[in-house]
Amino acid sequence: MFVQVLNGLAFGVLLLVLSSGLALIFGLRGVVNFAHGAIYMLAAYVALSISDRTSFWIALVTVPILLAVAGLLVDRYGLRFLVGRSPLDMVLLTFGITFVVADVVQTVWGTEARTIDPPAVLAGTTDLGLATYPTYRLFVIVMGLLVCAGLMAWLKFSRTGLFVRASGDDRVTAGAMGVNVDRVSATVVALGFGLAGLAGVLAGPYLTLSPAMGTEILITTFIVVVVGGLGSIGGPMIAALLIGMANALATVQLPTLAAYVPYLLMLVVLLLRPQGIAGRRTAL
């Protein structure tokens, strides 16, 4: 049972990192980023190549930065032109990116399943008193929680964080008050892509790499963000842990129903409260 809770926590934290990026991009840009899963997958594969040649630690640092730069480019040459048009256009644009990335991954790394070896320090198991648990998963939990705490602190206490929240609430007023909304948006998209990249690297040694990993987790991430509330950051954090736990527990306790659980959860939440647990109605 203890191990199941830890498993749920590990998956939940992974979802947390991934969905906070998605929630951030939605909150400010109003973009439902369909490319999020593809970016996560791309990050995992790039990390595979880098850690094969050098070390996992280098991949852990460089890959999120690379993808943040990719995010900047996407914002600069794509999303910026769509401000003021239907939000569906942005969905379609990111959907197009998904297809391109999926093709690139299949061409460069092939279609067979791969795994990244965790670094030697994290390879074994750790005795936690109640049970022994794979060290790498503990690392994922700690790392993910640290990153999310950092993100929350940044949004809450820093000056740029204030700008981000202000631009998310009211773009026009924030702009009139002297915030460079375009630059803030670019920062946010870059940060969101970077977080997806980080989640991809973290997932590498934990889950299996395959060309389907992006779409699979994308849907789960959407569920997290929708259940948590579009346009909020804290809501998805709660929802990610919830769904991670529900996923881990249902797989063991009710295997036949486990696959339905996240979708049913999303269905119920959307029907009863379309704005999600912590979302604001205006975000829609």
């Binding site: 794509g78 569906l88 379609l92 779409t215 849907i219 569920i223 696959a259 999303m266 269905l267 829609l284």
Partner: protein, 379 residues
């Protein structure tokens, strides 16, 4: 300054009293209606020509190409259902694969377990898909914007998960081979496995659906739908029902997706779990957008382009995904109306050029500068 009435002469008042036409901002109502009628007449004519010309396809293109064309038409139907919904109600559905799949599996199930004439079997399948669409619409239609897209995605995925669990009915990813029997439209239904035999049916269905959706969009009801899309609150305050029209629109669109699903089963005798997966909806959506969702011609056109592209790129390492994604990105950024918009722009450019040439009295006597000026004006 006018001091007394006698100072006013007839000449003074004539100028200000002269009736000047009110400033016009764009065409008048009458002119707009006249243009709409003219455009409708051209569209009906174009549809007739296309419908009749399309029937001749088996004599013009090879069997393999005909097979591809048939595939494109079925995909075009699914794309049309999603595209029409998007255009008419502004709602983006990622769940139409569910109705497509339910109709396909429903048809297969009835064919295997009930001894009904083939016509009724197909109706049962299509009815099943449409009913599913109605139920989904009743529950979800109030949900706004992007949440609606997510919700349909969740429902589509639920259908997919359920399809995987009901292995005894769906046979999962292995797929289901179904032998339909009986006579459909005077032919043994097995014959429809041959694209030459199936083509008139597939083409006829697509053309009928296109015409029906076109008429629906232009009807009072269709315009009311568009008004609800543009400003729901205002329509509600004006005393119009806004819930039921959208439910009906979603159901109609589900009906079209179901027809595509059943037609797919008739022509291929095969269905697998992929039919229910959300990427089927996603692909149909992309195809619809690339073709253009502003008209009923767009989605089928997009499907044809997609199948051609996929087939053309199949030989060279199969990069159709990347090309498709890139095309989608470019279309969204440059021409939100899709290929149809690009064609329209080209058409307008050509006709306005022609009109300029016709207006010119004699090209040799007109100096160059005026020619350029006229052309610029016409544009």
């Amino acid at each position: 300054m006018i001091s007394s009435p006698t100072d006013i002469t007839a000449g003074d008042v004539a100028e200000p009293l002269a009736v000047t036409p009110p400033p016009t901002h764009g065409p008048t109502v009458a002119e707009t209606l006249r243009r709409a009628n003219r455009s409708a007449r051209w569209q009906v004519l174009g549809w007739l020509v296309l419908a009749i010309a399309g029937l001749g396809a088996p004599w013009v293109i090879s069997l393999y190409q005909l097979q591809l064309a048939q595939q494109a038409m079925i995909m075009g139907l699914l794309a049309l259902s999603i595209g029409w919904l998007l255009r008419q109600t502004g709602q983006l559905s990622f769940g139409h694969a569910a109705f497509y799949g339910i109709a396909g599996y429903g048809t297969a199930y009835v064919a295997q377990h009930a001894d009904l004439p083939i016509g009724l079997t197909l109706l049962a399948g299509i009815g099943g898909g449409t009913l599913a669409a109605l139920v989904v619409a009743l529950v979800t239609i109030r949900v706004p914007g992007i949440a609606f897209a997510m919700l349909t995605l969740a429902i589509g995925m639920l259908a997919w998960v359920a399809g995987g669990q009901l292995h005894s009915i769906t046979r999962g990813v292995d797929g289901l081979n179904v032998q339909l029997d009986g006579a459909l439209l005077g032919k043994d239904v097995v014959m429809y496995g041959n694209p030459v035999e199936a083509w008139p049916l597939v083409w006829g269905v697509l053309m009928t659906v296109m015409a029906a959706l076109w008429v629906l969009s232009r009807s009072t009801w269709g315009r009311r739908l568009a008004s609800i899309r543009d400003n729901e609150e205002r329509m509600r305050f004006s005393g119009y029902a806004t819930y039921w029209p959208r439910v009906v629109a979603f159901t109609v669109s589900g009906l079209v997706a179901s027809i595509a699903g059943s037609l797919n089963l008739v022509t291929t005798s095969f269905i697998s779990l992929t039919a229910l997966f959300w990427s089927t909806s996603g692909l149909a959506l992309i195809v619809a957008v690339i073709g253009g969702v502003r008209s009923v011609l767009g989605p089928p056109l997009g499907a044809v382009l997609f199948i051609l592209l996929q087939n053309y790129l199949a030989g060279s390492g199969n990069h159709y995904q990347a090309v498709l994604g890139a095309v989608l990105i470019v279309v969204v950024l440059v021409a939100p109306g899709g290929c149809v918009e690009i064609l329209e722009r080209a058409f307008t450019a050509v006709t306005s050029r022609l009109r300029v040439r016709r207006d010119q009295p004699d090209p040799s006597t007109v100096p160059h500068s005026t020619q350029g000026g006229r052309r610029a004006q016409a544009r």
